[in-house]
Symmetry: C2
Subunit: 351 residues, 2 copies
Amino acid sequence: MRGSPTALSFEASLPSLVAQTLGAEVAVELSDLLPTLVSDLEDVDRRLSQVLGSAYAELTESARYACSTGGKRVRPLLMAAAARALGAESTGGIVSLAAAFQLIHTATLVHDDVIDHADTRRGRPSMPRAFGIPLAIVTGDYLFVRAFELAAEYPRSIILRCGESCAALVEGEVLQEASRFDLSVGREHYFRVAERKTSAIIAAALASVAEFGGAAPPVADALATYGRSLGIAFQVRDDLLDVFGETDLLGKPLFNDFREGNPTLVVLEAYARLDPRHQSEFERLFQLRRKRSKHLLRLRELTELSGAAPVVAREAAAWAERSAGALDGLPDGPYRHLLERLAHGAADRRS
Amino acid sequence: MRGSPTALSFEASLPSLVAQTLGAEVAVELSDLLPTLVSDLEDVDRRLSQVLGSAYAELTESARYACSTGGKRVRPLLMAAAARALGAESTGGIVSLAAAFQLIHTATLVHDDVIDHADTRRGRPSMPRAFGIPLAIVTGDYLFVRAFELAAEYPRSIILRCGESCAALVEGEVLQEASRFDLSVGREHYFRVAERKTSAIIAAALASVAEFGGAAPPVADALATYGRSLGIAFQVRDDLLDVFGETDLLGKPLFNDFREGNPTLVVLEAYARLDPRHQSEFERLFQLRRKRSKHLLRLRELTELSGAAPVVAREAAAWAERSAGALDGLPDGPYRHLLERLAHGAADRRS
């Protein structure tokens, strides 16, 4: 027996989340599409709230809390936009699938926060902080399980896309874990991690939407390529915001990657561009297992000094360009245009 | 691309694991069946080794390590015996399903060991001890994901049985977590936890075997009932062994439930049976968040003094009896007989 579905309590309303993801300018430009997209996301949230109901109030509460702090609904938004770009009149058929991918994403955020000892997530206490480590671990498992139950509503090929992308995600985490505090890993390693940790799920989600909608395989491939490149643009930008973003907009403290020793693209590029004296200072500080505020601020100073930031920002933009370009074969129209804008938005967002 | 399948390195050979699970007496009595069952389990292990291959050596290694310390293959053994009891000539069709249930079980053991700070598992360092907490969490996720990919080979109804039993398992963990150090929860609470945490997966695994084999619904129900009662017998015995077992046989230290404050059946019965003076001593010691050796030993002494052990042992035997009785409607034969013996074995095993 499940608890009765009640609304998830978000830190922000869906319309404002969507507007935030699109950026003010695009939100105005494509304002005709907003009510439809918001309604699509509402359907997904209703489904989420429903499947997370457990007979045990505590689990229902922790699972819904995880979902309410679990991101801006970028994946469901991309999926709804893709379905509509391919001509779907309704997104009813992919609601469970979008909920599944959102749950998988959320589950990994919850376990990430346990692993990274994160205290906040989108401006609220992180799961381990709010519910303790045991319940956070178990809730993450619960979200995975419910995700797979939702995915089970779809054909086997889609379930397998979902599963394979989850496995890739876990591989990405392992790869990242193995390279902590290691500045010698190189750019290829970074992209390997990002492709698995971030891109694989987005690519699988979009390809599944295409497949479910009966699109031809090249269309599914184009959307997968779009999703993969967008994922990398998103990740590169994410890493940049972790150094140069505004805490108030991000809803979490800066410098997580410095603190945890993640050799992100901006870290690697900064390190590579510094003169030998600053390079060895950067290395010494980056490799400290416990960094104090002055160390973190100095790492940012050195990153700034290196001139890496604009280079990396251009790289994010190039991935966004590649992403948008992958849509060339799709029918022209407002939703394809929206997808293109979302790709660019991933690369130049501020939160 | 997956790594090439290599053998899992077990702490014991499959024949000896099976013999151990059956108990010496039954192993002799049913020795004709052993080669077949061992061969069935070898198929499952081969499948496990195959699906756990990742492109990343580290993940392959941690996942295979988790499986090699992950229990006595009780679930796959029960599934193989059930399939054969229903007349299957081969268990080839359920190999992936048995591997899936074994992986789910293993995943939860890995996350349990993180939550419980366990140092050893079946005589070897636990996953968090051997690979660190981050990799242990992520490996548990990986095992879940691979389990669902395996389950995806089966009809939707079986996938959903699998998913629902996983959700129940997580609910069991949450219930257990919520009742730590609480001696007032009552027996019903204990059985609610055991039914979710232990029985649900076994019941789902066996019902799935019946369904896959084309058995009539009452047969699937009978096997589910068998599995549910066996699970409780198993859990009650497990809790008893945690207090009175032999470390060398168990491969893990005693007193985990005392340490973690789990109100198991033997704990609740001991507490209920003590005179007021000893009862308050028991309560005080049980509720210590950090117990020293002398506290643990005194708790065992008080448990012994209470006379709860034989009562709880009889209760385990009664559940085994109920379990075996559920098979009355199944065709008579050596494998049904084996299943009955396995139920009794769950209640009187020493490891």
